[in-house]
Amino acid sequence: MQITSALPIAKMVGSNRVVLGTGIVHVTGDAKLPLKDEKDLRRKLVQQALDALQSNEKQ
């Protein structure tokens, strides 16, 4: 599966499982958030990634 903020590219190349990242410059983070909130956000993104890997649905 792929975590990316460049969704059109993921679609173009035919990635089957995609989770939208938080930005090109920090795909699995967000520099604007306090560290604790950023870590929570990252945990959520990673959990979504794991969910995608355990599903047969295109996303």
Binding site: A6, R43, S55
Partner: protein, 346 residues
Amino acid sequence: MKIVYYVNQFFGGIGAEEHAGAPLEFRDGALGPAKLFEQLMGNDATVTMTIVCGDNHAVEHQDQVTAAVLDKVRASGADLVAAGPCFDAGRYGMAAGAICSAIQRELGIPAITAMHVENPGVDLFREELHIVDSGISIAKMRDIVATMAKLGKKLVARQPVGLPAEEGYISRGLLRDQLGDKTAATRMIDMLIAKMDGEKFDSEMLPNAFAPVPMPARIKDMSKAKLMVITDGGLVPKGNPDKIEGTAATRWGAYNIAGSDDLRSEDYEVSHGGYDTRFVQDDPDRLVPLDALRELEKSGVIGKLHEEFLSTCGRSNPLSNTRRLGREMVEKIKRDGVDAVILTST
């Protein structure tokens, strides 16, 4: 000029699908389409050998077949290798493409083949080979072989090859510098005006075509799975030990994260032009989310996080290159028994 020709069991006169298991054979002289090719290549051209192989045999034993063909062709002193036309026969196209590609790469002998654009051999070998567009109709055999012969002569003489549409081969997806008499701005406005007027125009940019990728089956039990992280965002250890280029990278690296719960800024750098890398430099977990994954591993959600992450730089990279990097990574993934991969892309 000496020519070696490759055909499948059908065009080699052995038989149809029931003979697709026919083993590799080397016959003296020209057989089937090779005869026509020899005739169209002119007086000084001789097909000294026709290689015949059943389509199933060629695809199922590709490595052995290719190695045996390379030995024979090396010894033959051929100036040119031709294969097909394969039309829409998928296995024939894959076999002809693999053989032509190996001969060009390993022996430096030019090769020419022909296929229908939707033949899977086109997708695999269009970048490396000149593949004449054969369509699907065997009735056009003479025209197709004539186009192959014309192009084949140019390849042997190392003459410049024109554009795909002029020469009759399938676009290789390559960009080539060329001197024009108008600037890019003028050409663009010309195209725009043509478009507004509903007239025909040829774009200078062609979109790449990507074959659909079948979806791999889901992970049934994540708590037993081995997970790996790959990134194309260019995260590398300080000093960039593998010298991964920040543009059009030709290499990738595997970096150990065993025993680490968090990626620290002072241990890493980012080799990637184009995007502002300061945020990842400040906290590499923003690209390779090790902290979150390690927690999930410790709490048993993930079976095991692989002890290395893989990294390369995806910027401005030709497809032929990224496909190779991908294939190399897949070999490692399989070797290391990884069940699932998270790829983070910038």
